[in-house]
Amino acid sequence: MRELYAKLNRLFPLGELTERRSNLAFITLTAEYLRPVLLHLRDREGFSHLVLLTAVDWLEEGQFQLSYLLSDRANGRDIGLRLMLPRDGASMESIHDLWPTAATYQRELREMFGIDFPGSPRINEEFILEGWTDIPPYRRDFDTLKFAQENFVARPGRETWDPARHMKDQLYPDGA
């Protein structure tokens, strides 16, 4: 993988290489070089398969991280490309023309994280959330517990005890 990285690095300005296994590595890059690097990997290096496209919300840094995982089946190796996007008004170039399946991933990311991929087929159609009105639920500032409490009723008769208060009542009821 180091050889491949060195070769790529002569052609494109890349960020760091993270090797996870001998046949799995991740390369960071900036958004503008994603398409040429993907094309090169697909057409010149045998990474013909887009395994997945996913995102991580780095809330504190105000950024989304996108990970594109590609597979070179003939040689049994995978490579991931990672890039950061500003979280505000997050938008990324679509790659559905390189891999048609990307459109599905992009539609999912649009719905779950609110990341736009202009031009991607059916990008604004509902994916699995029907009638969703809240902020995208995979954003880390989405309060899952609050949503669950507001939308799903608890069965009657539920009761809970706070551990510290319960211990106080049991072990030192008179405050001593």
């Binding site: 069965r155 539920r158 706070d162 551990p163 319960h166 106080k168 030192y172």
Partner: protein, 603 residues
Amino acid sequence: MGFCMSVRDVLSPFTAWKNLFLDPVTIRDPLNDRPGAARYRGFHQNDVGRCIGCGTCETICQNGAIDMVPAEGIETKQGDSGLRPRIDYGRCCWCALCVDVCMTGSLTMSNAYKWVESDPDLFRFTPGVDRKYWDDAERGYRRPEDHRLTPRERAHMGEMAPEARIGSFDEIVHGYSIEQARLEADRCVACGLCVATCPAHMAIPDYIAAVRDGDYERGLRLLYDTNPFSQICGRICTHRCETTCAARHEGDPIAIRWLKRHICDQIPHEKYLEIVGKPAPATGKRVAIVGAGPAGLTAAFDLAKQGHSVTVFEALDKPGGMTRWGIPEYRLPYDIIDREVAVIRSLGVDIRCNQRIGRDISLKSLRNGHDAVLITLGLQLGRSTRIPGSDHADVRKSVDLLRQARACEDFGTPRQAVVIGGGNVAMDIARTLARLQKLAYGEVRVTVTALEDFAHFLADPEEVKEAGEEGILILDARGPQQVVVEDGKVVGLRTWRVKAIFDEQGRFAPSYDETDEQFHPGEMVVESIGQMTDTALLGDALSEQLAWNRGRLQVDLGGRTSESWLWAAGDMVRGPDVVSAVADGHRVAASIHAALNPMKERQ
């Protein structure tokens, strides 16, 4: 038609017959014979004996599916709330966050996934308590070894290296930086199991949250709500809270004591006075307190805040009690005590030093001049082994030597010393002597002989480790037999190996292996085997009137003695540690306050 068939057509149905001898691909009974995958996240299991009821699973559950409920046969005790998680399967989504966060690893998921009931309420159940068919399932989701939501190890605490610290009395522990403290605070899951264990029931999770938020003023306010000796406890508390911390089950307990110290270290002294606030309007009641240690001063702090006029009478020339005269400076610098006392004085507490009862003042005069009297005499007398030779002038008590060392009195530092005892005080005097030897002679020659073996040692492990690093020889299971005196001078201690410390009835009655005798040379022997109260200070007449219980003054829950005007608190009625004395100070202050305001109490 049959006439038209080829041979192949005739035979072809039979070719399928070869499959008769292969294992079938289909499952014979798919409703019963299809176990979940090995790491399937199926129905919950809880090893209730390992579960400590910390409620972290309830807190992390994003579906609000978990309640913490009392469970039959499970007692609330130190380090275990006695509650167990009950899960509502109407809300659970099997995400396994509860398993991933579980502090003991007791909560897991089996690979079972079939459960049919007609009553929907039955799907609310307490795993491990309500028996289920999957309780003993061996397969299912368990948190992988390396998968942890909270770091296992505590944030690193910087300390002076042994070579550097032995030549001085400088404080050993550096204290956390803001960054280290925040990392450490982040490990706390705020379950609050520690609160019950802390004698003063400090609001531990709340002040740790204040560290996390960087809101040190809020933190200090929380500390002073329950402990006016927070700066001192932040350094030398026996930190029993850390022995019941949920994090200790699968890693280091949270460094609660160091986080407390960190809060105290961040706030400038002037700010303390502002945060502690002003006393309530004067009540006109007068309270006398004998002894300016943690118990007496905590009571003074509480009573002064309530508007009572408090005068503290201290026999020695500076306040602080055992925190000043019993704890070496390398663990607790003097200025920390001065700062603590200044906060208490800022509430108008009048602390008068060099006022020993029986010499400078009498309890009778205190009684006449005050509405209530509190005695906190501490444990100022060292116990003696009473072995032959122990009456020699060069056989000393650790409590006396520590006091002299802190007063910078020259008591004749021995070139070689033997300490009898295995508790923290024995470590304190051994390490103090080691420093004095290093300063005076350039080498450390201290031997500690403890009755207990290392498996049952009384001193904290870090004290033993640090003493060892400083060149002190610690011998376990050695019973002192004789202080050997030659030509009128102490030359050492003779010991036998201890076979057992207690007899079959559990009474203290050490038995020895007389064939295993050792001689430990030294021109000074220090007895450090326990301390007692100097009850002679009370005077014969009062001692006669008071009720006693096995040599200890008898007091009620609020610390009141059998004499209605007299209360007692601190080490003389409780075990010897600062935070217990603080807790006792609060208790006795509440009792005195109630007695001084009988009308309010009745309302």
